[in-house]
């Protein structure tokens, strides 16, 4: 077990009858990082989070968090974890303060922590308002405040941006960044919003149909993403031969009937254009592609080129 890991899961699977919701997922979330768990709706994100919180029993696999096995030391592990799952839920008849007081008592946190998180999440003007009368965005803030009451070392958040307005999203994003940078809180957040993950995560796990397709460092992805060049020609087969034989490219994929993608590291537009024109091939378009997270995600999950 890696002492540096905030979350270490191996071979995590969950079956509901014949439905395989999560298939053999391995996770290695390092302490202090923000890990974006990205996937489409129904990809298995929430089921994975439920397993991490002990709300769903895995069909197979093991989970360790903050250096301890979840199965063997559930209470010890979860006392250091803050979380919210899926929808923002609170006792509707209790006020914001009373809802947080419930969490404070149950986690054994200091009484003052309730005021601190109210201030942190900018809920001061709603502190005496019943949770049932809050807007969805403020309920989401309340859920986040609840997750933070006991100053957790690890935050597990399921779609934290849901229901927030654009300003709220920016605020929460800044807050999560601050928590990671200043307090060393590890954040594991799921999202189906590429933009959200792109702006916040240090590392990204892409989950699709229950399987973890890739775990990637966001900076690495940016580096890798600059290398593709797409060309449109009248004769794709001949263009492919020219690029292989004359320029020595090996990572060529046909991306359409008349288009070809060159993904070799170091490929440049000008030599490609010269070689193709020199071979008498009609070059209709040449587009240097920067494969951003969106394209990368869509390519991995089979959603487009």
């Amino acid at each position: 077990m890696s002492g540096d890991a905030a979350i270490l899961a191996s071979g995590l699977s969950k079956n509901y009858g014949s439905v395989r919701a999560v298939v053999n997922i391995d996770l290695d979330v390092r302490r202090g990082e923000i890990y974006g768990f990205l996937g489409r709706n129904g990809a298995g994100k929430t089921t994975t989070i439920r397993m991490l919180l002990g709300l769903v029993r895995p069909s197979a696999g093991e989970i360790a968090m903050l250096g301890s096995s979840l199965e063997k030391n559930r209470a010890g592990v979860l006392s250091r974890v803050g979380y919210f799952v899926e929808s923002a839920a609170a006792y509707p008849n209790l006020t914001v303060t009373e809802n947080l007081r419930v969490q404070q008592r149950l986690t054994g946190a200091a009484s003052k922590s309730v005021d601190d998180v109210i201030e942190l999440l900018k809920l001061e003007e709603y502190r005496h308002r019943r949770a049932g009368r809050l807007s969805l965005g403020n309920r989401q803030r309340l859920s986040l405040a609840r997750a933070l009451v006991h100053s957790p070392e690890l935050l597990i958040l399921d779609e934290p941006a849901n229901g927030l307005d654009p300003a709220g999203i920016v605020e929460i994003r800044a807050l999560l960044r601050r928590l990671a940078d200043e307090r060393g809180v590890t954040i594991f957040m799921s999202s189906h919003l590429l933009d959200e993950v792109e702006h916040l995560a240090d590392r990204i796990g892409i989950v699709h149909m229950g399987s973890l397709m890739e775990e990637v460092d966001y900076r690495e992805l940016q580096e890798k993403g600059r290398l593709a060049i797409e060309i449109e020609v009248d004769d794709v087969a001949r263009a492919e031969r020219v690029l292989r034989d004359e320029l020595g490219f090996v990572d060529l994929t046909r991306s359409g009937e008349a288009s070809l993608r060159v993904s070799d590291r170091g490929a440049k537009a000008a030599p490609i254009a010269r070689a193709l024109v020199g071979a008498g091939i009609s070059l209709q378009r040449l587009i240097p592609l920067e494969e951003d997270l969106e394209r990368h995600f869509m390519r991995l999950t089979g959603g487009g080129s």
Partner: protein, 262 residues
Amino acid sequence: MRFFSVVVTEFSKLRRSRVTWVSLAAYTFMIVMAGFFMWMMKNPSAAASLGLLGQKANFAVGGQAVDWPSFLTFVVEMGGIGGLIMCSVIMAFVFGREYTEGTAKNMLALPIPRSRFVLAKIIVSAAWLAALTLWIVPVTCLVGSMVGLPGLTTGLLLPAAAKLFVLALLSLCCAVLVAWVAVETRGYFAPLGFSIFTLVLANVFGRTGWGPWVPWTIVGLYSGAAGPEATLGWGSFVVIAATFLIGTALTIRHELSADNGQ
């Protein structure tokens, strides 16, 4: 985590809950209706002139004494069935609301043994039912006095009050099964349906010789609703205790082992 904190938290969850006030109003209404019935028996001609008493009711009322012993007997009988219904509603609410309001997932992922939540909720339900039972004692005195019933003594009141508390306890023991249905079905509609089913069951078995062995019927028999001749042996109380233990164990087992699919 101290169990006391969990109990205090469960009490705090009831704050400003409408169900608290609705249950209080329902219990009060039950006693007021019992008093109203006494008033009709005391003033049959006035009740008849107001169209409150039909021929059938006149026949039923006839021969009943209009005094404190009759009123208290009536209150205890109503308290038996009413207590069973109310306790089921309380249990369905206390356990089912966590699922209906989407807070079960928050609660069950806390670093606290889940069995403590179950036990704390049962304690809160018991305290709530005890408070309601305590409340109806002065309400009964007030309503009976307003009707003008003669002859109230502590010798009459205390045994009736004690019987109401025993009935509350018996109802609680039966209603733990409602808690189990609430967590199994993740809400409070199915447990309410289950409660109605148990009342039908109580009624059906009350007409057979099996009554003293069916938990919900036992409550009715103890209240005297099945008639003064109905007697209960120790076996009936063993059945009630077993119902409580089985219901509690099933609820805890569900919370410990089942996936929270909320």
